[in-house]
Symmetry: C2
Subunit: 408 residues, 2 copies
């Protein structure tokens, strides 16, 4: 199940960024489950990672390797599905390091040039031998046209691949931004979501890229939630190869604003695609809080609504049970406020005003909005002028089915 049509786009290649995918039969046969990405010398690489304290061994290794990398040599990202290699202790660390060493040896680079990523069941052992014996095929398959296979290769409970790709004009030179993401459950990213890889042929200085990936993740992956659970493996990587000859050193250059806007758009497409494919999702809902006093306040209210099981089951039922929305607002951890100033809209339809049901309320009108696949719940707090969006999905029978059956 997923919301809306599968809109996997035509993926424009990014010069200097190759992808090679294969089936290593890590957990299931005949499933693409191992993806190697090769980054040309001269690129910059930035990433944001989960803030979950039980972060996975590959996340620990990424954080260790990134500062040691030499940008004038090739670099590699190696991703497996099936097992997350989280909660696996020192053995898990050794296993991820072993995979990095294998890649490094094959490519004749230092081991720190390799960043590992894993996603899947937490706590089980990474089958290193299977991965290593399949890695040669990944190397053989490396191509700048490898995005489609890689999009499939990083999926777990996803029902469809997630991609975004744009080409923009930066002061007369075309620049490409292309990315993929995966994730459907354990989605309440904290600095980044499950896995996302975005590449551009613009050149971006390391300092600028570090800021960009944080800012873009904050406006995209950090605004989504399926179930409120933050993954142990969240990683979001942004690579700038510089092969387009458009170079941004400080962000003051011509075309940077357009570039940044397009980059955030790609991040948002990849993040919302995760929610539309959320486990059991039948609805894609934007929870928009406006007139708040601060961004933290707006997000706290939006997340309290988006995490409420009672709201989420009402979304599934397309039932304008607005009392559940008010009850969620009323328990949000924010400073005191006047409930009389709060109003709630479903798209353009006024649902609540002055803290209770609107005088103009007609249930059929509200139910009609909620019958749609996608709509917005807007909360106007009447307190200030700050707004925030959180994108979420409903809780369906299938959410329970998927998560009660998963692993078995």
């Amino acid at each position: 199940m997923a919301v809306g049509p599968d809109t996997f786009p035509k993926m424009l290649p990014v010069e200097g960024f190759e992808l090679g995918t294969t089936s290593a039969e890590i957990k299931y046969p005949d499933r693409k489950d191992l993806v190697l990405m090769a980054i040309a010398p001269g690129s910059t690489v930035s990433g944001v990672f989960t803030l979950n304290r039980f972060c996975a061994a590959p996340v620990t290794l990424c954080k260790e390797h990134l500062p040691q990398q030499a940008s004038d040599h090739k670099r590699y990202l190696i991703t497996n599905t099936g097992y997350a290699n989280a909660g696996t202790g020192p053995d898990g660390y050794e296993n991820s390091l072993s995979v990095c060493r294998y890649v490094a040896k094959h490519a004749d680079v230092e081991v720190a040039q390799v960043l590992p990523f894993s996603t899947g069941v937490i706590g089980e052992r990474l089958p290193v031998e299977k991965i290593e014996s399949a890695l040669d095929r990944c190397f053989e398959n490396l191509t700048i046209d490898g995005w489609d296979d890689a999009g499939l290769g990083i999926m777990t409970t996803d029902t469809r691949p997630k991609g975004a790709s744009v080409q923009i004009d930066c002061a007369g030179t075309p620049v490409t931004i292309t990315g993929i993401s995966k994730g459907a459950g354990m989605i309440k990213p904290n600095m980044a979501t499950m896995l996302a890889y975005i590449a551009t042929d613009a050149g971006v200085s390391k300092a600028l890229l570090d800021g960009l990936v944080k800012e873009a993740a904050d406006l995209s992956f950090n605004q989504v939630t399926v179930d409120g659970d933050t993954s142990t493996n969240d990683s979001c990587m942004l690579v700038a190869t510089g092969q387009s000859n458009v170079i941004f050193e400080t962000g003051d250059e011509a075309g940077f604003t357009e570039f940044k806007t397009a980059l955030v758009k790609v991040f948002v497409e990849l993040a919302t695609a995760i929610i539309k494919d959320g486990e059991g999702a039948t609805k894609f809902v934007t929870v928009r809080v406006t007139e708040a006093r601060s961004l933290e306040e707006a997000r706290e209210v939006a997340y309290t609504i988006a995490h409420s099981p009672l709201v989420k089951t009402a979304l599934f039922a397309a039932d304008p049970n607005w009392g559940r929305i008010l009850a969620a607002i009323g328990r949000a951890s924010i400073d005191e406020f006047d409930v009389e100033k709060v109003s709630v809209y479903l798209d353009k339809v006024l649902l609540c005003e002055k803290g209770s049901v609107a005088r103009s309320y007609v249930e059929a009108e509200c139910a009609a909005v909620m019958q749609q696949d996608e709509y917005t719940i807007e909360i106007r707090m009447g307190l200030g002028d700050v707004a925030a969006d959180v994108w979420t999905c409903d809780f369906s029978y299938d959410y329970v089915k998927i998560n009660a059956d998963y692993r078995s």
Copy 2:
């Protein structure tokens, strides 16, 4: 669905506390839905109420009336189900006040002597005429033996009534404590849960009673969660009639310790009965966090686990998917800690140690614990010596069904 056998006990009457129940056909025909409780002159009455800012009109009225009450006259508690009279604005306030006025007139007392309680769907109008025309029958039915009917009369999505009753010896004199509660969804009480009424024939000074109800609620209703949603109508009332001639003025008297222990036990029984009857519940799980640095920290970790939809669906599946438990601990909003010190037990079976799966882990042993109707997940944080319990239930298909169908 509910966990374990229906254990509604023999309800010992409390002298000075009468209950009268009837069917007012408020929302459904042939269902007990209106309960009047009459409190003898000379009693003390204390209550704790929801901290949800969208509190219901009856909660507002309770808070207004309580300080105005004269203890030398009769007092009344009037409860309806069907409609919560929350989110109903000034009209809702007038409707609850009208019901209080009707009771006051019939009983020839001041209107402040009446405390109103409502539970059911949020936001729809209270059918005042139906309630008032049925009230005479409640007065006719008033009896100290009315607990069983009252337990039925306050139910909404509950599948069974919830009661607790004990008699203890206080320095040679028997003292009775009897109570009922209701609630199954929108359960994450904040100072009190949906509705609970506990009466004793001990005499307790008002100051002492105020402290007792807060402390007992904190150790019971404030330790449970079904879905993390705090109700707009939570109210917990404690009445001490003093008719046993055992009088506690300061808490220093002989027998007070025994009384308080028994009182907390009644509160805990009523609170855990709500979780066992949680919407769709098939499991009753104690999440016990030990070795924490503070009570707040222990509860935050316990609630993060107890609210995780991924943990709750794994409880439903009886699947020892311990990675979900670690992931929840890892995202809890607490100060930094060393994941290497964390261990997790299912009852007496060690599941995780040093932040990952235990060396001794045997999946079948853990699955066997989780097949039980009731068990404990214990998290040892390795940080300090503070502990807290949170009682919760699983997320099943029926949770979604109940909440997607409710109202329709």
